[in-house]
Symmetry: C2
Subunit: 398 residues, 2 copies
């Protein structure tokens, strides 16, 4: 990619608002989306510190800018995917389907994503009508189980219409059930809707929603942090949920079984200090078991309709608690080592670092990541593991 002309061509294909003053940075940001899994904190920190182009050069040359062992491990993790042909493919395929690439700092960049800090997306691949994206700054996420009941479908449709009428964008994950109805109802009300996918924009998932997703791409926004060609995988669904939560002022779980992936999105919303709402239902409905649990155990606000949801989005009361809320498993080796030495009895970071064989900085960073998943909490006397929040304690991806 030392040849500048192809870089500018590739970038121009996915940046209709261009020309960009620094096309190499754009190309590098897009390239990074092919290298890392969503939410890779080390990549986020590296790119935050050095910019995507310099970070990519370091990776190409295998010269980590610091002797940090975590960075060394990350380079080893990313290197196998380093393939300039795949970078080019990502851009060409995106251009072919009319997708554009957003990077942090763009006027269209959803501001809420910045709250994810180094866990945020490096860039976003976006399908939307031409011209500037409509703003996401008044959004509510409507999420829920794929196996929605007629009650949940009705609540979702009414809520999405009511939110659209109030000028809120409806954010969801395009899954079967609650998600799909939320998107459809928002479109039916001429409202904005945003579908956040776990895989690449060239492979709409689920297949049953291909037509719906094409319609959202024409009338709303479909986006993903993964490049064209990326398959929607279990872990990517769970990481995708953090984007849904971060892009929304409030996340509302309409229906969820006791172990629905919607609880994962709820956990992200809580972590981000966003409003968290849950719709009540029959105590005999398995599809409301998860929402009732969110209210009982996690301080989710009981919401009845679009008015309640709009109120929550305008003034999230922050009553959410995270303890044990649907932890996200992680493949990060530091985190695994820290998890291994975490107990329900609080330990200091120094103690944890010594036991895990990590630097205090690395242990501290790992604890931060683990706390994001709800598997660890900080108290006055140190960090402790949240009972029951184990890696195997997972629902299926939505």
């Amino acid at each position: 990619m030392s040849d500048l002309a192809p870089v500018e061509d590739l970038v121009r294909g996915v940046r209709p608002g261009g020309p960009d003053p620094d096309p190499a940075a754009i190309l590098a940001a897009g390239a990074w989306t092919t290298l890392v899994e969503p939410g890779d904190r080390v990549a986020g920190a590296l790119i935050g510190a050095f910019g995507p182009a310099e970070a990519l050069d370091a990776l190409r040359l295998d010269t980590p800018p610091s002797p940090n062992p975590e960075l060394r491990r990350a380079f080893d993790r990313w290197a196998p995917r380093f393939d300039e042909a795949s970078f080019v493919r990502a851009f060409r395929n995106a251009a072919q389907i009319g997708a554009r690439l957003l990077v942090p700092g763009d006027a269209d960049w959803p501001a809420g994503l910045d709250d994810l800090a180094e866990h945020g997306p490096i860039a976003l691949w976006v399908l939307a009508p031409s011209g500037p994206l409509r703003r996401f700054d008044r959004s509510v996420a409507l999420v829920g189980s794929r196996s929605a009941t007629p009650y949940g479908e009705r609540v979702t449709a009414d809520a999405a219409c009511g939110l659209a009428d109030r000028g809120f964008a409806v954010v969801s994950g395009a899954a079967m059930g609650i998600d799909g109805i939320a998107h459809r109802a928002a479109l039916a009300s001429k409202g904005r809707t945003v579908a956040v996918l776990a895989g690449g924009l060239d492979r709409f998932y689920p297949a049953q929603h291909t037509d719906l997703l094409h319609r959202i791409a024409r009338e709303g926004v479909v986006l993903s942090e993964m490049p064209c060609g990326a398959r929607p995988m279990r872990e990517r669904f769970l990481k995708r949920n953090r984007l849904i939560a971060a892009m929304s002022r409030a996340t509302v779980v309409v229906e969820a079984g006791a172990r629905s992936g919607a609880a994962n999105t709820a956990g992200h919303a809580a972590e981000l200090g966003r409003g968290l709402g849950a719709v009540p239902g029959s105590v005999y409905s398995a599809a409301s078991a998860g929402t009732h649990r969110l209210v009982r155990e996690y301080g989710a606000v009981l919401v009845r309709d679009a008015a309640d949801m709009a109120e929550l989005a305008q003034d999230p009361d922050g009553a959410v608690t995270l303890d044990g809320l649907d932890p996200v498993p992680t493949a990060d080796p530091d985190e695994a080592r820290v998890l291994d030495v975490l107990t329900t009895r609080p330990r200091t970071v120094l103690d944890i670092a010594a036991r895990a064989g990590l630097s205090v900085a690395d242990a501290s960073a790992a604890l931060g990541m683990i706390s994001l998943t709800g598997a660890a909490v900080a108290g006055p006397t140190g960090w402790s593991r949240v009972p029951g929040a184990t890696r195997d304690d997972r629902g299926a991806p939505r």
Copy 2:
């Protein structure tokens, strides 16, 4: 009643466990139930200080034991009902239907009622199987609207059975709808159930529940603080609700319209520091509007089943807030005067007393009563009126 033999006869007829060492006190306590309306704080304070017999003598002789103008007004309020023939009638009619009279201090007296302090009942007329009453110390109140839905009926029946199976007595008000089903289901599970009536035990209300109340009298407990002959009146229903709440470790509202009397019972439970639970339901059900509001606005705990209710009764988390929760109107003239000068801007007791033309002690007492109803709150800078909590803001009695 200076003639001792008839006194002993009258008392013996309603005190199967006798003989009582002080029958005159028992007779006086029963007599007081014919003189005062439920929750008369002045009567409670007077009888608490002097005992029922001495207090009754003072009333007979029109010699208030203190020059307190509130007491003078109370004497004037009670005097028109002073009629020894009606005292005798109350005892004879009670004996005739097999009712007994409980007074504070009796081994069978429901301990929870003591938390009502001077607002508590002076005595209780009780219909129950012969022998010592079964204890009420593990009780849950199940209350709700008269117009229950099939869903509410099912939740109530399941909950009452589950509570009975766990050894909890089910307390309710024998009304149509939720109340009646709660009693029936507890009986069907061979559990204890307590029906608290607003009128006398010789006039079961509602008439449709005459057979049910006879059955509860044979297998459980039917009680009232009002004597035989007393009509169930609107105000008495609302005051009756405080007994339901006080006798129970937790009060659960199963279904309630936006302005159900069940919210009044919930308010008493909250005031008494009892657990307050509310059952969720469809957001489209008017019968769940009140329970959702209790969760959203008053911190009621969302409860799904008997297990949740038993947990609440064992460990009420006290998350309830009272502001504006279904205030009870009052006929007390001091309270009316205080209410007239209360504003949403806080005022000191001194200021309020001056504006209302009351002594500081009387204004203070009235404020205490008003705060019990949720219509006034004390803050760091004084007392203020709770907006929307007006006397006309009433639901129908249950």
